[in-house]
Amino acid sequence: MNESIHAIQLERVRLSYSGKAVIETASCAVRKNAVTAVVGPSGSGKSTLLRTLCRMNDRVPGFQVEGKVVVLGRDIHDPALNVYELRKQVGMVFQKPCVFPKSIVENVVFGLKFHAVPNGKSFPERSEQALRDAFLWDEVKDRLHDPAHTLSQGQQQRLAMARTLAVDPEILLMDEPTSALDPKSSKAIEDLILSLKDRHTIVLVTHNVDQAERVAEDLICVDDKTVCHKPCHPLPGEGTC
């Protein structure tokens, strides 16, 4: 495999909770600057797989990863790796919009504050850019200091995106980002995903196959504890798992 075109590579990865396998074997790769959708029935371990990519399951009791996970050219389970730097490069957006009980702009710079030097400034340009990137700027530019929970669910999810984008990650992991939203907000998020793929590598977990077809170039299929590639528009005679 060519290192330069892949952002994430999994080699014979087995994920288990207290010995019970969630994913028996996963070998696949994610292309840079493309949208890859991870699909599969609920409870099949999609989210577990996604969370593994930025080591969010580190402290889950009994969770174990075997095999090799390479993200941006580095084995993420290398003991010398700084996991906080990894998570800075690999951002994640969750299913339920989660905003902190602070103002809108404080939410945007929340992660940035910890990574930037000098610490603790408000970064007006960076937050404006992040909000513009998340298609939220026009809706909130006049009330940046309002509490974030006054936003609608769809706006909150875009705020969560802006917060992640402000840290400037290379890879964006999204765990069913539209499943808690109404169709209109979902559409906004899908447009957003398409606009981001030039600059970011995006991995999107979704249970909605139509959505996967709309936004993704590549498809990864999780079923029956195995993970495999699937061309997005299968040609006759190939592409089944």
Binding site: C54, P61, F94, F110, G111, R163
Partner: protein, 290 residues
């Protein structure tokens, strides 16, 4: 359907459990009403100056101020001293420990919570007063400070356990989000979890205050038992008196219907009102946190 709709089934089980429930719920009102009625004589003889009178001589004058002052002082002192330990161990247990070590800390706290007050009192009188006397170069180790220190140890499990509950009730999504933005665990804890749990933590502190204020036996043995506000008032290394300690010392000799008994009941009423205020505030905050 109309007036019976509240309790539709009225068999013997209803009447039996209803009777016991009435006892359980009625007790608190009986306590309050009895305190009010029995404290009437002292307010008749002293007027409201009972509350701010500074002198207490059985048979002559009854002033509650030194006791109220002493109670506030030792309680405040206890909370200030316990805070770093209770919050520190609550944060560690809730956010950083898991599995066996967490169980060990929790079990230690439950055992600590069960140590009888009289054992603390015995340790206070036999060890702590001597230690305070020698370390701070005092003539007598029975001081407000000693009582505050002992109370701090006694309320540690209460404040710690309730704080830990408050921290753990912060939803996991907030932790996930903070970590996914590249925060360290400590940054996540201090900037996300603790601020979110703040009402619950405040509730824990209020309940700790309430518990400390009502503690009798251990305080009684180490506070010095002098019904006087120290000179100057912030001199922690002077002997003093708290409300429960005063009641505990004098109740046996005043048992009956004298004005002195009524004065002790009135002290009990003051204590009851203060403790109920603190714990209601604490319970309110804890409820809001959930």
């Amino acid at each position: 359907m109309n007036k019976h709709s509240l309790f539709p089934e009225r068999g013997p089980a209803f009447w039996w459990t209803g009777f016991t429930a009435l006892i359980a719920a009625g007790t608190i009102f009986i306590l309050f009403v009895s305190l009010v009625i029995e404290s009437v004589p002292v307010f008749k003889s002293q007027g409201l100056s009972f509350l701010w009178g500074a002198d207490w001589f059985a048979g002559e004058a009854y002033g509650a101020l030194p006791m109220i002052f002493g109670s506030l002082m030792v309680t405040g002192l206890a909370v200030v001293m316990v805070l770093p330990f209770a919050l520190g161990s609550a944060i560690l247990t809730s956010e950083f420990l898991n599995g066996r070590l967490r169980l060990v800390v929790k079990a230690a706290m439950e055992l600590l919570a069960g140590v009888p007050g009289i054992i603390y009192g015995l340790m206070g009188i036999a060890v702590l007063t001597v230690w305070v006397r020698d370390v701070f170069g005092l003539i007598d180790g029975n001081t407000l400070f000693t009582a505050g220190l002992l109370l701090a140890v006694m309320i540690l499990p209460t404040v710690m356990t309730l704080s830990e509950d408050a921290l753990r009730s912060v939803p996991g999504e907030f932790r996930d989000t903070a970590l996914s933005l590249g925060l360290t665990r400590m940054e996540m804890t201090l900037k996300v979890v603790v601020p979110q749990a703040l009402p619950g933590l405040a509730g824990a502190v209020f309940l700790g205050l309430g518990r400390a204020m009502g503690e009798t036996i251990a305080v009684m043995l180490v506070i010095g038992g002098i019904d006087r506000i120290p000179q100057p008032w912030f001199n922690l290394f002077a002997p003093g008196q708290s409300i429960p300690s005063k009641i505990g010392r004098e109740a046996a000799e005043a048992l009956g219907f004298d004005v002195q008994w009524s004065a002790l009941i009135a002290l009990g009423l003051v204590l009851f009102v203060m403790v109920m205020t603190l714990t209601s505030a604490g319970n309110l905050l804890l409820r809001r946190a959930r």
